[in-house]
C-alpha cells in the first residue's frame, strides 16, 4: 500500500525544478551584464554577495585581511578576464568557487609563518539549544550533548553540511567546490555527517532515532 503511494508521488518527480530554472534566469542575465562591464550590474552583485562571501571566507580562515583582499581580487580578476569567463546560472556558487581557490592561494604564503590557526574552527556548526529550549523538546543536558557531537564532526563533513543546509547549494555544486569525484560522494559526505552525529551520541534523544537507516 505504502509502496504504491510512494510510487505515484515519489520525491523524485518535482514540478518545482522547472520554476528553479526560471528563477535562476536573472542570475544569468546579471552575470553577463557584469562581465560586459555594466557598472550597476557589478554593484548589484557586489551588494548582494559581499556579506555572504565575507562570511564564507571567514569560515575558511580567521584572517580578515586575507578574506578582504581575496574578495577584492576575485572581483577584479573576473572583470579583467571577462572574455574568458563562462556563463553561470548561479552567481553565488561561481563566486564561492573563485573565492575558495583564491583564498587557498593566499593562505599558502601564510602557513608556516604563523603556526597553527589556533582557535579557528573552519565551517563551524552549532546546534541551537536556545531554540530547542524555547520549543522545550529537550533539556539542557541533552542539547549540550548534541552540540558537542556536532562540534566533533570533521571539517570536511562540516563543510559539506554547510553547503547543503545553509547555503542551499546542490550536490553537484558541492562536488565541485570540494573537489569530490561525484555528486554521490557529496551526498555520502553529508549523510555520513548526520550518521556520525547519531553515533557519537551515547544516549539518543528520541529526535535522533530517525537518523537510523533501515
Amino acid at each position: 500500500m505504502k509502496e504504491r503511494v510512494n510510487e505515484s508521488f515519489s520525491l523524485k518527480e518535482k514540478p518545482i525544478s522547472i520554476d528553479v530554472e526560471i528563477s535562476k534566469r536573472p542570475d544569468f542575465e546579471l552575470w553577463k551584464a557584469f562581465l560586459a562591464g555594466n557598472k550597476s550590474a557589478f554593484i548589484n552583485i557586489y551588494e548582494t554577495y559581499f556579506d555572504v562571501l565575507f562570511s564564507y571566507g571567514m569560515r575558511i580562515t580567521p584572517n580578515e585581511e586575507v578574506v578582504k583582499d581575496s574578495i577584492h581580487d576575485v572581483f577584479f580578476d573576473l572583470r579583467k578576464n571577462s572574455k574568458n569567463i563562462g556563463d553561470t546560472n548561479h552567481i553565488k556558487f561561481y563566486l564561492f568557487k573563485c573565492l575558495k581557490v583564491r583564498l587557498f592561494k593566499e593562505l599558502k604564503g601564510w602557513v608556516g609563518k604563523r603556526g597553527g590557526l589556533d582557535d579557528h574552527t573552519p565551517f563551524e556548526i552549532t546546534f541551537s539549544y536556545e531554540q530547542m529550549l524555547i520549543n522545550s523538546q529537550m533539556d539542557a543536558e541533552q542539547t549540550a550533548k548534541i552540540k558537542n557531537a556536532i562540534e566533533d564532526l570533521s571539517p570536511r563533513k562540516r563543510e559539506a553540511v554547510y553547503y547543503i543546509y545553509f547555503e542551499g547549494l546542490n550536490y553537484e555544486e558541492v562536488k565541485e567546490l570540494m573537489g569530490l569525484s561525484s555528486a554521490k560522494s557529496a551526498r555520502d559526505l553529508v549523510y555520513k555527517a548526520l550518521r556520525k552525529l547519531r553515533n557519537s551520541l551515547g544516549f539518543l534523544p528520541p529526535l535522533f532515532y530517525i537518523l537510523e537507516t533501515h
Binding site: 520525491l11 559581499f50 577584492h72
Partner: protein, 345 residues
C-alpha cells in the same frame, strides 16, 4: 519506524524548511497528503534542520565600502591597487617580482592618465554609487506610518517614532533599530532571524507579530501577539522569552524587566486609529494626546493625583476627545491651532 534520511538529503525539502514559498508549500502539502504516515518524520526532520546553526562573521559596513571603493577605482583605472600592507617576510623572488609589477603598474597608470587627459574630461553620470545604505522612516507627532521592509515584513510606526533598516537585509540576520513605538508583523524566514534593537534590548523573532514601545521616560514594553520572541538585554546579558499574550516591561533606568500578561486592545489600538486609555494618569493622557494629534498641551491649575481615566476613541478628532474627557474629569480646554490649554478648577 520513522525514517527521514530521504527527507534530510532532499534539497527541495531543505529549501522548503529554510525558505518556504507558495510552490514549495503546495508541493509538500500534496506530498504529505499522499504520505499521511510520514507527518511525524516531516516534523522531526524539520526540527533538526532548523536547529543546525552556522554562526557567521559578518563584515562591518566600513569593510564592505572599502573594498567596493577600491574596486570601483580599479575598474576605472584598469589596475589593481590592492594589497593592504602585510607583515609577511617576502622572499627575494617575491620581492623582485612585486617591484617589477609595481613599475609596470606605474607605467600603466601614467599611460592611462595621458589617455584620460587626452580624451575629453567629462564626468560620467553613472559615477554616483548607490552604495549599501540605511533607510530611516520616521513619523512626527500626529502622524502614523505603515510600510513593508525589504523582506516583506510589515511595520506600523506610531507617532513620534523612527525605524532604521538596511536597503537590503544581510544573508543571515534582519536587523532594524527602533526609536519610539512600532508594531511588527514578521515575514517568516527561519534562516534569518529578525532582530529589533531598541535601547539596550534586542528582540529576536522568527515568524511572529509583536509591539515594541520604547518612548522616552516610560518603561520599554515588548508585547507579543503571535509566535515567539526572545529579548536580550545587552547590558545585563539577561534574556527573556515571551509567549503570545505576554509583555516584557523593562525599566531602562535600573535595567530590570519582568513579564506580565497585557491588554491586547491597549497595545494594539493605535494601529487602527483607536486611542485607548485604561486607568491612565493625567500625564499619560496628556503625552498620548500630544503624540497622537501633534499638539502641545499646557495646563493650569492642579489636578488630583488619583486622576485615572478609562476611555476608548475610535478615529475621533481632538475636539471630541477633549470634550468627552472634560465632561468626565471636569476641566476646561481651549484649542488654538497646535496648542491646547487645559485649566483645572
Amino acid at each position: 519506524m520513522p525514517q527521514i534520511k530521504d527527507l534530510l538529503e532532499d534539497l527541495e525539502f531543505i529549501r522548503w524548511v529554510k525558505k518556504p514559498d507558495k510552490d514549495l508549500n503546495l508541493y509538500w502539502e500534496r506530498w504529505i497528503a499522499s504520505n499521511p504516515d510520514r507527518i511525524e518524520d516531516i516534523k522531526l526532520a524539520k526540527q533538526i534542520l532548523l536547529n543546525l546553526k552556522f554562526p557567521a562573521k559578518t563584515p562591518s559596513m566600513e569593510t564592505k565600502r572599502e573594498v567596493l571603493n577600491k574596486l570601483l577605482k580599479d575598474y576605472s583605472t584598469g589596475t589593481s591597487q590592492r594589497k593592504t600592507p602585510r607583515n609577511i617576510q617576502t622572499s627575494f623572488w617575491n620581492n623582485q617580482f612585486s617591484r617589477v609589477a609595481a613599475i609596470l603598474v606605474v607605467i600603466f597608470a601614467i599611460s592611462f592618465l595621458f589617455h584620460a587627459i587626452l580624451k575629453e574630461n567629462r564626468p560620467e553620470a553613472g559615477d554616483q554609487i548607490p552604495s549599501w545604505f540605511f533607510i530611516t522612516k520616521s513619523t512626527n507627532y500626529g502622524e502614523k506610518l505603515n510600510f513593508a521592509l525589504p523582506d516583506g515584513s510589515m511595520v506600523w510606526l506610531n507617532a513620534g517614532s523612527s525605524l532604521e533598516f538596511p536597503s537590503a537585509f544581510e544573508d543571515n540576520v534582519r536587523l532594524v533599530k527602533l526609536h519610539g513605538e512600532g508594531f511588527f508583523e514578521i515575514a517568516e524566514d527561519v534562516a534569518k532571524p529578525f532582530k529589533v534593537q531598541t535601547g539596550n534590548l534586542t528582540i529576536t523573532a522568527l515568524g511572529t507579530s509583536f509591539n515594541v514601545n520604547n518612548r522616552d521616560k516610560d518603561d520599554l514594553r515588548v508585547s507579543l501577539v503571535t509566535g515567539k520572541v526572545k529579548v536580550d538585554d545587552t547590558f545585563s546579558e539577561g534574556e527573556y522569552f515571551l509567549i503570545p499574550g505576554q509583555e516584557l516591561v523593562y525599566n531602562p533606568e535600573d535595567k530590570t524587566g519582568a513579564v506580565y500578561p497585557f491588554d491586547l486592545e491597549l497595545v494594539q489600538g493605535w494601529r487602527n486609529g483607536t486611542l485607548v486609555f485604561k486607568k491612565a494618569p493625567f500625564e499619560h493622557v496628556k503625552s498620548e494626546l500630544e503624540r497622537w494629534y501633534g499638539v502641545t498641551i499646557s495646563t493650569s491649575g492642579s489636578y488630583s493625583t488619583s486622576w485615572h481615566f478609562n476611555g476608548k476613541f475610535e478615529n475621533q478628532t481632538l475636539e471630541t476627545v477633549l470634550l468627552s474627557l472634560s465632561n468626565i474629569e471636569e476641566f476646561k480646554y481651549e484649542i488654538e491651532g497646535k496648542k491646547v490649554n487645559i485649566s483645572f478648577n
